[in-house]
């Protein structure tokens, strides 16, 4: 960690709370004012207000930006969100705890397993149950693989946003390798509903370790291709280095987590600093940058793919035998074979999947390190089988607040690089 102290934090605060980089316009005003702006008496020169998105190929979904520009330079800006608002927190109050994982997994669709994980951890915290070792290691394995696939998706889109169109093909090629494994384990390529309160939905299929080792053998060479195509390229560096710079103090004040915070040199990773699952039993490095620019954020993600592979290799070696879900009749449905022979098991199965299980009253906040930063889940239970309130703290939602500050005084062409380097997933922003 860097030598951040309160004084530097306070000086960042004065900068951030002034309106020098955020354009305070409501959505309707922004539409009305769109276009040429004559000079004002307050000293603002000729400007242009431009609406970018919500349907724009490089905004990663349905993000809309209102930009105030002086020529090619962005003076102030404001992200406008809500175009993908799905009402998931409201729907979550209508679903049982067992169904809840299907709901949350659709939030951050590039890293669905993390959503399931954080929701399940929160429910388990309320239930006061501990998942067996094997279940925890499987969860860790799947989330690290998901971190890889999410970052590979970033490589593809980040490359394409900046004109390295070939990266779209390369990034997708590698991602498919991981997705094929996901499909073999969970039955789905995305939105798995695999990690559930009490454990995981199914054990790993036979031969998983060999299949996984084969994937791990292929990917390093391909990452080397990424280095060749992007990391070392002068054009790539020109587009990213020194663009969208943020300091550690600014990132902390703006609540930014994940690669954005780490790119400033502030090495904060929940896997190491507030370990959950079995992360204290594997070795890995927390990657931190030093300049806080777009290039650092790119490089951190590339390096994190390698770190995740390192963790996955250790997990293959250390995977314990045992149950993959907790053997608690209140939470866990009976195994499939028992349903065929026992009426009680059938009733039990039916009751768990229709009525759900009751969760003791209380409230809890649990956080995990998703590929985008701190993913938190706050659940209030009233003792029934449905959450009274389920709130997800989406890292993209908070990270988006850095955009106006990152884009201040940069060129219009750089907005694409900056949005891409924040790597927002709109499903999680709008929920």
């Amino acid at each position: 960690m860097t030598s951040t102290d309160l004084t530097t934090l306070n000086s960042a605060l004065t900068r951030l709370t002034s309106d020098e980089s955020v354009l305070r316009l409501s959505e309707t005003e922004a539409e009305q004012k769109s276009g040429y702006q004559a000079p004002t008496e307050e000293g603002l020169g000729e400007r242009m207000i431009m609406n970018m998105g919500p349907q724009h190929p490089s905004t990663h979904g349905v993000l809309r930006l209102v930009l105030e520009m002086d020529g090619e330079t962005i003076t102030r800006s404001k992200p406008v969100i809500g175009y993908l608002h799905t009402g998931m927190e409201k729907t979550g109050e209508e679903l049982t705890y067992l169904q809840g994982a299907t709901n949350v997994t659709r939030m951050d669709y590039a890293a669905p397993l993390f959503n399931e994980l954080v929701f399940s951890l929160a429910v388990e915290e309320l239930l006061g149950i501990e998942v067996p070792d094997r279940g925890q290691w499987i969860r860790m394995l799947m989330s690290e693989l998901n971190r890889m696939s999410s970052h590979l998706l970033f490589m593809a889109t980040n490359g394409m946003d900046l004109g390295a169109v070939g990266m779209m093909l390369y990034g997708w090629r590698e991602r498919e390798e991981v997705l094929r494994f996901f499909e073999a384990v969970t039955g789905l390529r995305m939105n798995h509903n695999y990690i559930r309160p009490g454990g995981v939905a199914a054990d790993l299929p036979g031969g998983w370790d060999e299949e996984l080792s084969a994937i791990l053998d292929v990917i390093p060479d391909r990452l080397a291709e990424f280095d060749l195509l992007m990391t070392g390229q002068p054009i790539w560096r020109e587009r990213l280095q020194g663009v969208g710079v943020i300091t550690a103090e600014e990132a902390l004040s703006l609540g930014a987590t994940g690669p954005i915070l780490r790119s400033t040199g502030f090495a904060w990773d929940l896997r190491r600093d507030q370990p959950y699952l079995k992360y204290d039993q594997v070795e890995f490095d927390v990657i931190a940058g030093s300049f806080g620019d777009c290039f650092d954020r790119y490089a951190i993600r590339l390096a994190e793919i390698r770190e995740s592979m390192r963790i996955v290799r250790q997990i293959i070696d250390k995977m314990p035998e045992g149950d993959y879900r907790v053997q608690d009749k209140k939470v866990t449905p009976p195994p499939r074979a028992r349903i065929d022979e026992s009426m009680e098991a059938l009733i039990h199965h039916f009751k768990i999947f229709t009525e759900g299980f009751k969760v003791p009253e209380g409230e809890v906040y649990v956080a995990v390190e998703s590929p985008r930063g701190e993913l938190g889940c706050y659940i209030v239970s009233d003792g029934s089988s449905k959450p009274f309130r389920m709130h997800i703290r989406g890292p993209s939602f908070v990270n988006l607040q850095t955009l106006p500050h990152l884009m201040k005084d940069s060129f219009l062409a750089d907005t694409v690089a900056i949005i891409s380097s924040v790597d927002p997933i709109m499903g999680e922003v709008d929920r």
């Binding site: 605060l13 951030l16 959505e27 809500g82 608002h85 938190g376 209030v380 239970s381």
Partner: protein
């Protein structure tokens, strides 16, 4: 509330209210941390400042190293059937604003629960201390209708500007429409 006391009382013989009466007699003063009532929920520390203490508390916590406001969300307790986990002296209200603070140096977390009455749904903003609450506070306003005084841009964030109502309130319908599986007549 501290895990506590009642060793001599046989709970099964007492009605629930009387157990509470005994507890209140034994604990007239709530436990305090940083000058406000504190409770514990599943091992997590929860502070319960009043609306007046709220900003001052967050400010002093920030000086103590809680540099990041990680999360801010609202809860509508209308129709909550169970016992609210509140320390003595904190009167339950319909709304709550829940704030998560993170201390990177100690690697510790604190949670603040502020009671907001239904008749006057507003709270002072944390924006001057933690600019990170800009979006979350707007979300709480959008979803619960709780206003944050002093927020630079108190407008809807997820719903369209002209939307009526605050969807996450408990008295706001889910908005489910009946599903028609056949016989729908739409020109295609």
């Amino acid at each position: 509330m501290s895990d506590a006391e009642t060793p001599s009382i046989d709970e099964s013989e007492l009605a629930e209210e009387s157990v509470e009466d005994v507890l209140e007699e034994e604990l007239p003063q709530p436990e305090l941390l940083h000058g406000v009532p504190v409770s514990e929920s599943r091992g997590q520390v929860v502070l319960h400042p009043s609306r007046d203490e709220y900003v001052a508390l967050v400010s002093s916590l920030r000086e103590l190293g809680y540099w990041m406001c990680v999360d801010l969300c609202g809860v509508d307790y209308l129709g909550y059937g169970a016992q609210r986990n509140l320390p003595a002296g904190v009167a339950p209200e319909r709304f709550e604003v829940v704030v998560g603070l993170l201390n990177h140096t100690d690697r510790s977390r604190l949670r603040l629960r502020v009671q907001i009455p239904e008749s006057d749904p507003q709270l002072a903003t944390l924006f001057p201390l933690h600019p990170s609450v800009e979006n979350p506070e707007r979300e709480v306003f959008d979803m619960f209708g709780i206003r944050f005084d002093g927020h630079p841009d108190m407008s809807r964030i997820l719903m369209p500007d002209e939307w009526i109502g605050h969807p996450l309130r408990k008295d706001y319908e889910l908005g489910r429409i009946p599903v028609q599986f056949k016989g729908a007549s739409t020109a295609r």
